[in-house]
Amino acid sequence: MRKIIGIILLIVIAWGIIISLQGIPFGVLRTEVADHYINKGIEETGAANIVTSVVVNYRSLDTLGEVTILFLAAIGLGAVLATIIRKEDRETVKASLILSTGCKFLFPFILLFGAYIFIHGHLTPGGGFQGGAIIASAFLLIYLGCHREKRINETGIIISESLGGLIFVVIGLIGLLTGTHYFLNNFMPKGEFNTLLSAGIIPIIYIAIGFKVGAELSKIIELLMEES
């Protein structure tokens, strides 16, 4: 019964989508706003990666809201799991020496790779969100391989997350005071194109986002691994 209703619903949705997509040509046109971003992006923001200049410069208010959503999801996850009684006396098998040593050996290199990804966000594909996800994957590797010998430092997570959010908002407010007076204005000098120290506030904000996203995703992983 549920399957029949589902198939009927899907046929109705598919009919509407086919009708509405017939008017859109595929792979030919770009929108005007995309043309503006691509043609004027370098002189207006100084970033080589146009996607980064859209995320952190043109639409950085959206990014602020999105970081807030991630923060709220982490808080909600903590609130949902907070009242569960922890089971400490579960039977577990200790990981072998090779596995745990390999995880501890790989851990700093994965952190370094994540930091590389979010520091070079304005030059190469990547950025704060991707780098943060890579950093969280390093913590996940420690949890899976090292059998809870090491735990994540709670105060470190709280400090890096709060500092990331604070730097983002404070740089936005400084941009409100200087130059053309709008929130998250790119007020710093653009620098030489395609070098590490270029593009004004974009690398600073992406580093802040990297720390924040990495801390939040590590917190989510830690809660899910500890409580279940």
Partner: protein
């Protein structure tokens, strides 16, 4: 054949979206519903990316200044999908935590038993 060549991305993305919706409607296990949600999320992201595609396009990155701006794909949907992926991960984590609470409270993940539905 020309139709398939032009619309293969739309077909693939809506295939993923329909698979996700069908799983979410028809399955009764909570974990399978979450898997359907994740597939649906992937399909929506693929659709947004393929809307901004240009034929024979390159990535919108000026790694050299000599790269022509004419062939670059639309950067706006890519920026939107970048944020949508992270939100998808956060929503997935929240749904899994709700699943943990449901299992601790009811002892089962079967939504039919939890909500006492007849069908």
């Amino acid at each position: 054949m020309d139709f398939l060549h032009n619309y293969i991305y739309y077909i693939g993305s809506f295939g993923l979206i329909f698979i996700g919706i069908f799983i979410m409607i028809s399955k009764r296990n909570y974990i399978k519903v979450i898997i359907g949600l994740s597939i649906l999320d992937t399909g929506v992201n693929l659709f947004l990316i393929s809307v901004g595609y240009i034929n024979n396009g390159t990535a919108p990155i000026f790694s050299k200044l000599t790269i022509e701006a004419e062939n670059m794909v639309d950067p706006v949907p890519q920026a939107l999908v970048l944020t949508a992926i992270v939100i998808g991960v956060a929503v997935l984590g929240l749904a899994l935590s709700l699943g943990i609470r449901l299992y601790k409270h009811y002892g089962t993940l079967n939504l039919q038993k939890i909500k006492e539905q007849k069908w």
